[in-house]
């Protein structure tokens, strides 16, 4: 091989490598974007083809249910207009309680129940998902 060919081959290989890397990175970026919606917006997505997303809302007072000794819990997430029933298996965060603003990650199952894989309540007792905060201000 001539040195010129060698160099050409090197550039070609690098280019292909970089292209493949960028494609993979971009697709990973796309796959891991979590959209954040309110319960009202979430209701509209029930029948869509689904990837995971996030819903932020308040835990409806009186909606929390759990069978004794079970890690499975059910509650309703609301923005005052629409509400979504959520099912979660696992430990709830310290700041989880009824009336509190939280974020859940997951997707709807066939029974139109949101199966959460993650429940977040931020580390601030005054925290509220921003949209809910705006909502509260406008209604009160």
């Amino acid at each position: 091989m001539l040195p010129r060919h060698k160099r050409l081959l090197g550039i070609l290989v690098t280019l292909i490598g970089v292209t493949v890397a960028i494609t993979l990175i971009l697709s990973s970026f796309q796959d891991n974007l979590l959209y954040y919606v309110t319960p009202s917006e979430a209701i509209k997505k029930i029948d869509d083809d689904q990837s995971k997303f996030r819903i932020g809302g308040l835990v409806e007072v009186g909606s929390f249910k759990r069978k004794d000794g079970s890690l499975q819990s059910r509650f309703v997430l609301t923005d005052g207009i629409e509400s979504v029933e959520v099912n979660y298996i696992g430990i709830l965060p310290d700041l989880f309680r009824e009336g509190q603003g939280i974020i859940v990650t997951g997707k709807f199952d066939k029974m139109k129940i949101f199966i959460a894989t993650e429940v977040l309540a931020k580390h601030d007792e005054n925290y509220m998902p921003p949209d809910i905060h705006a909502l509260k201000e406008s209604t009160s």
Binding site: I25, N32, L34, Y36, L71, L92, P93, K122
Partner: protein, 634 residues
């Protein structure tokens, strides 16, 4: 009285910072006698005033002076005294005061750097630029975030410190991290000052130690934060790709690149422009980090009351410093003398890895900032999940780790002869040693094996100078910083790989006298009780850990409710040694006499924090012991 005095000294510090800047910058165009002494003195005076300011704010905390708004919001009488000190930087205003104080201390130390005195112009201008940075932040403090603001009517009791922050690691985490962030202002100022004055590569020699020093603090700060998150945030993760974590990781990547690029610029006079750009980028990313954490655009442990004005101000400072530095660069930077680079020479390999480090910072930046920009433009709220970061970071890091090992064997200027021959035995050695892991832990995946190989490869190539010199410490002393740096990195990569691949994590419901099995370990709940702490009430569980029927340890995870807030805090029960961490956290009472528990077995987890300690040790040796040594070696 004390807060007013604090105010006065804050203004006085601002005035000295202004003089420090003006004095320096005016000497750029004309020759002013004694200007060097003037800048040096104003630097010292500014630092002195800021120390007094900080002391006065601390006094207000110790006296429980709740007439000061900041004290009332971040402390109360029941707070243990050690945390009253920590509370000084527990909120937004105080932490910014700490920021400028640390900047002033760095500036003072730079002004005492004897070696730099041989380049008076560079010295004056870099002190002047640091004065300008301090000036910007002092205006910011006085304008939007005054820690000495009074509160009327005076409350009887303060609100108390956020319980999350009441922890020994959190007392030192912010100052350490800040020292790292702010320290990057020093290479930044030297780089820009160099452009303005001598405009050659002499700055690199001086910037190196300062870069290494702030890199050490940054490393320590990030590791401390990770350790704290692991045992305090409750759920036993050690890195969450949270935007505030990313905010500290990005400057770390670039500072690491800068540290290595400065070696080439100092030794070979090459890539001067690249080093300057890295210095500018590193400090800009520090400012971006300050913006992300302090502006309230992120809702997290680190952000306090959000005030859009504050965010805007920091963004303006960021735009100003980065923008003007880049403009100066584009005007002043001379074209690098071109030199043919051999692909396997040390300078080429270092350059290559610096590019990979910058790529890492870039990939993290995209994932961190993209959601913020989208939200700002009102295009919807999204977040980028950890899987993105975990996946894309492999692209720059796998080649980076491969080339690290090769670079150790390379020489300056030339393609090193027989580099392959030198490297091959080590390659085979790490492949052989790596095979032990699947035998110990079982098969996981090809990626796991690659991670283990690369970690071992990095460590063994790191130790190689010692082997080559027949284990003579004296002969290898000059390589020690590199060796420790690379060994530390290898340890960390090994820890990350093994923990993520072989760790076990799950939630379980447990009742008294019932056990749960985690890998080879048996966790048995023996008691649930209540206990009173100094300013909290704790519900504790006592958990007996056994392995194959042999008793290991009893741990007491707690759930604390602090008096000052209704918020519950999780204190995990951890049994750790070098080889594995056993972790249990109490969830909640789920009825029927059962409690939800979070259980973990994490092999080699500790290496993730021991690695950075080893790396820092390398930096320490370079800065304090080896400087002369290395010069003698040249």
């Amino acid at each position: 009285m004390i807060p007013e005095l604090g105010q006065v000294f804050l203004v006085a510090a601002l005035a000295s910072a202004l003089l420090q800047f003006l004095g320096g910058i005016s000497s750029l165009s004309k020759n002013i006698p004694n200007i060097e002494l003037f800048v040096e003195r104003t630097t010292a005076i500014q630092t002195f005033f800021l120390i007094i300011c900080f002391g006065l704010l601390t006094t207000s905390f110790l006296q429980d002076d709740f007439s000061v708004l900041y004290v009332a919001s971040n402390s109360n009488t029941a707070l243990p005294i050690a945390y009253k000190f920590a509370a000084v930087w527990g909120g937004h205003e105080g932490s910014l005061l700490l920021w400028v104080l640390i900047l002033a201390v760095w500036t003072l130390f730079l002004s005492k750097d004897k070696a730099l005195k041989s380049l008076p112009e560079l010295r004056i201008q870099s002190l002047s630029i640091l004065g300008l940075i301090s000036l910007g932040f002092l205006i910011f403090i006085l304008y939007t975030s005054n820690p000495f603001e009074r509160l009327l009517p005076i409350p009887i009791q303060g609100r108390g410190l956020n319980p999350l922050l009441q922890d020994p690691a959190l007392v030192i985490h912010p100052p350490t991290l800040y020292a790292g962030y702010v320290g990057l202002a020093v290479p930044f100022s030297l780089a820009v000052a160099s452009l303005l004055t001598v405009n050659n590569h002499q700055w690199a020699k001086h910037a190196r130690s300062w870069t290494i020093l702030s890199w050490m603090f940054l490393t320590g700060g990030i590791a401390l934060g990770s350790w704290w998150a692991y045992y305090e945030l409750g759920w036993g993760g050690w890195w969450f790709w949270d935007p505030v974590e990313n905010a500290s990781l990005m400057p770390w990547f670039v500072a690491t690149a800068l540290m290595h690029s400065l070696i080439i610029t100092e030794k070979r006079g090459l890539f001067n422009g690249f080093s300057i750009l890295l210095a500018i980028t590193a400090f800009s990313l520090s400012l971006l980090g300050t913006f992300l954490v302090r502006s309230g655009v992120l809702i997290s442990v680190h952000s306090f009351a959000s005030d859009p004005q504050r965010g805007l101000f920091i963004l303006m400072l960021l735009a100003f410093f980065t923008g003007s530095a880049l403009i100066i660069y584009s005007i002043k930077q001379k074209k690098n003398r071109s030199e043919k680079l051999h692909p396997f020479s040390r300078e080429s390999l270092l350059l290559l890895n610096n590019v990979f480090l910058c790529a890492s910072a870039g990939l993290v930046l995209i994932g961190t900032v993209y959601p913020l920009i989208l939200e700002m433009l009102d295009l919807g709220k999204i977040s980028v999940g950890p899987p993105y970061f975990n996946f894309v970071i492999l692209f720059p890091f796998i080649p980076l780790l491969i080339f690290i090992g090769i670079a150790v064997f390379s020489n300056w200027r030339n393609d090193s002869k027989n580099i392959l021959k030198k490297v091959l035995p080590i390659l085979f050695l790490s492949l052989a040693l790596g095979l032990a892991f699947p035998f110990i832990y079982g098969w996981s995946s090809l990626l796991t094996l690659v991670g283990i190989y690369l970690a071992l490869w990095t460590m063994i190539t790191g130790i190689s100078p010692l082997i080559r010199n027949q284990f003579s410490i004296k002969k290898t002393l000059v390589f020690m910083p590199m060796m420790l740096g690379h060994i530390g990195l290898g340890l960390m990569i090994l820890g990350i790989t093994v923990t993520s691949s072989y760790g076990i994590t799950f939630d379980d419901s447990m009742s008294i006298e019932q056990s749960s099995r985690v890998g080879d370990y048996e966790f048995k709940l023996t008691e649930i009780g209540k206990r009173n702490g100094p300013n909290y009430l704790a519900q504790f569980a006592s958990i007996e850990i056994t392995k194959d029927g042999k008793y290991i340890q009893t741990v007491y995870p707690e759930k604390r409710v602090y008096d000052s807030s209704s918020m519950a805090m999780t204190e995990a029960g951890i049994e750790a040694n070098l080889f594995r961490d056993l972790f249990i956290a109490v969830g909640e009472d789920i009825g029927g006499g059962s409690w939800s528990m979070h259980l973990q077995y994490k092999p080699l987890l500790r290496l993730i924090w021991y690695g950075p300690i080893v790396m820092m040790l390398g930096g320490l040796i370079r800065v304090f012991l080896n400087k002369r040594n290395e010069e003698a070696y040249q």
